[in-house]
Amino acid sequence: MIRVAIGRLLSALPVLLIVSLISFGLMRLIPGDPAAAIAGISATPAQLAQLRVDLGLDQPLLVQLLRYYEGLVQGDLGRSLLLGKGVFAATMERLPVTIGLSLYALVITLLIGLAAGIIAALRQNSIVDQAAMMFAMIGISVPSFFLGLVMIIVFGVHLGWLPTGGYIPFSQDPLGWLSSSTMPAISLALLQAGLLARITRSSMLEVLRQDYIRTARAKGLPMRQVILKHALANALIPIVTVVGIIVTLLVSGAVVTEALFSLPGMGQLLTQAVLNRDYPMVQGGLLLVTTFLVMVNILVDVLYAALDPRVRYE
């Protein structure tokens, strides 16, 4: 297992190198003037010219690339043009928001997805099964931004039950955090919950068909025990994979959700950075996020190896 982990970590290095090159290149190719983005609508041409000089945007590309890698080697991700502070510091400021939101969404996903999937499998082809799968199908078909908008209209604007946007840190006011995060978390979780419900159902069905389950049931073990001890344990293998995928999707989905609900998370930070041509922030931020996602995938692979002894990596 440790060998699996080390092997995967080593193979991740070239991937991250390519990631850093792609994000560097992409940003330089984007047309548009960072000064115009940063200075805003009310800036005069003279102010823009001043800002361009201040930002040092006149260096040759190769020099900028070498500077970037020189910084990376020293553990320096650079300084955001827009915020004026270090990329790492800016990321750390925003990360708790995204992590909190993603965890909340993950909890909703796991609760709804697993429950719906297991119940549907146990009552295969019943009304309950069909209802659960219908729900899952809607879940994977509704665009999260549309769901978010509808929720804002219904629960925020018309019923006034939940705040329509804005963020309250958990550390400041746990209840406030819960109310400000509930709509974003639901709009983020529904797709993944649908996905998970479908996978859980089919994995469970597969396992329930296996001989040892039939044997266990034939021996008169209580249904509950059979499900929890045997069926679920074995169904967990593909489910772990899906949870890995879900974490990736949550981070991606947070980009849209945070924009919609004006939450100050990583997704907003990076989207704003791209739209404002904040080169260092995009390069550094993307590198951090992809590193995180690659790590999640490695973790999933290692867990996978631990759960299923048949898996051997070359």
Partner: protein, 524 residues
Amino acid sequence: MKRSFLASSLIAAAFALPAAPAMATPFQCPTRGGDLVFGQEANVNSLDQMTSSTISTRNIAMNIFETLMTRDENNNPILELAEAMEEGADGLSYTFKLRHGIVFHNGKPMTSADVAASFDRYKRIGLQRSTLDNVAGWDTPDPFTFIIRMSRVQPTFIEALSSFSVPIVIVPAEMKDDERQQLRTIGTGPFKLLEFVPGSHAKLGRYDGYQPNTAFEQRTGFGGYRVACLDTVTFRIVTEASARVAGLETGELQGVEDVPTRSLASLRSNSNITILPLQNWWIQIALPNTATPPTSNLAFRRAVQAALGMEDIMDAATDGNYRLNVGFQYPNQPTYTDAGKETYNINNAARARTLLRESGYRGEPIVILTNRDYPAMYNAALVMQQQMQAVGINASLRVVDWPTSVQMSQQVNSTEWHFFHSGWGTQPALGALATMQFLVSPGANYRPRDDKDDPDVLAAWNDMNNLRSEAERNAAYARMQTLVLERAYAYPFGALTKVQATRATVQNFVPFRIPRFSNVSMTR
């Protein structure tokens, strides 16, 4: 000739508040306390008022920081942290007497050393440091005297110095070396910063050590007699317009900016809510590219001018909340003139077609450059396209984002676009001088070929800057506006109204270029 500003600032104050009795006592809070939450539309990245030109920064920072000179309600220069200012007889020095008893939010008293250090920082990294181009240096003969020495006479210096575009805010001397965008948020204003979470909110609290400016009796513009009545003010970033309105209705927010016109009807019928239109928020405008045909051709530009119907354009841009307006200033401003008004809102298809034939236009594709970051610009461009098509111009839209459109519009001799859509907000509010810089090199928005200005326009601009008497400078402005309009170097469509709104419990909130929270109170 010595001119004293102390006297004129008092006159300005009296002008601003004609209703106030001559010897009335200064403003007093009807109630104290309360926490106000304001829904702001745009994100704030930094509160460094010296290096940021964005409106969103100013919204918050101008409640925290103060300057030597600022502008009153009618945009006249007034003193803020100084009690007197004298211009030298030769026009080569300005001597400021600082107010006594001013204490920064960190408890340190303000002296001329702090003012000098603030000017030092501004000279080093201030975004509008060209303001100080004609300044030779500054002296601090004593703790309450600050002298600016000029290298040459600049009749418009006070106008530039008092500008709130990127103001020279006064901060403690030890912040002199703070990096760009990293100015520590310590000022002398009625509110101090309690908490700032970029992308989320900024929370301000009443500063109990604040010294109101007793030269005034009421708040005026960015200055005047100011006092914080509220305990705290929280600026919350709520980018979704519908969410801001909903927040106001539920009482989650006590004030919001930029209310969509569509929501006004239902808000007006809500007795818990006060609607506060802020007229003349910006001039909706399009600029031609005169470096490339056919927009390099005066007859073609005039044809487009004749084709435009401003009611439809402004209606689309604002959903109906606008005022037709000629030129680059508003009627309530001292320099306003409707010179060149015969070029405005012609809306005459026959005349447009005649001019079009005259220009020799043969259906070449015309590109209207706009963006969707500012919906008003996109909407105006869409209607402009339709009006141009209606007279037989093959017009198409090129929608990019704001940074790209600015970059494209500033390329010298570009052939990629013909009309660039923009909105001029801060500069028209600052006055004719600040606005007309958009029409001369290096930043001439109509992009003359090789950046060579129209010599007549340039001559008028130089007069606007260099003539010693104000009346002559204003006349020069009228000449310049006429030239720009007659030669169709700009198509100002009209004045856009931005609507703010508060809960009815909020008292004395008067819309201005920023939401001002001094002298604002809340009833329970």
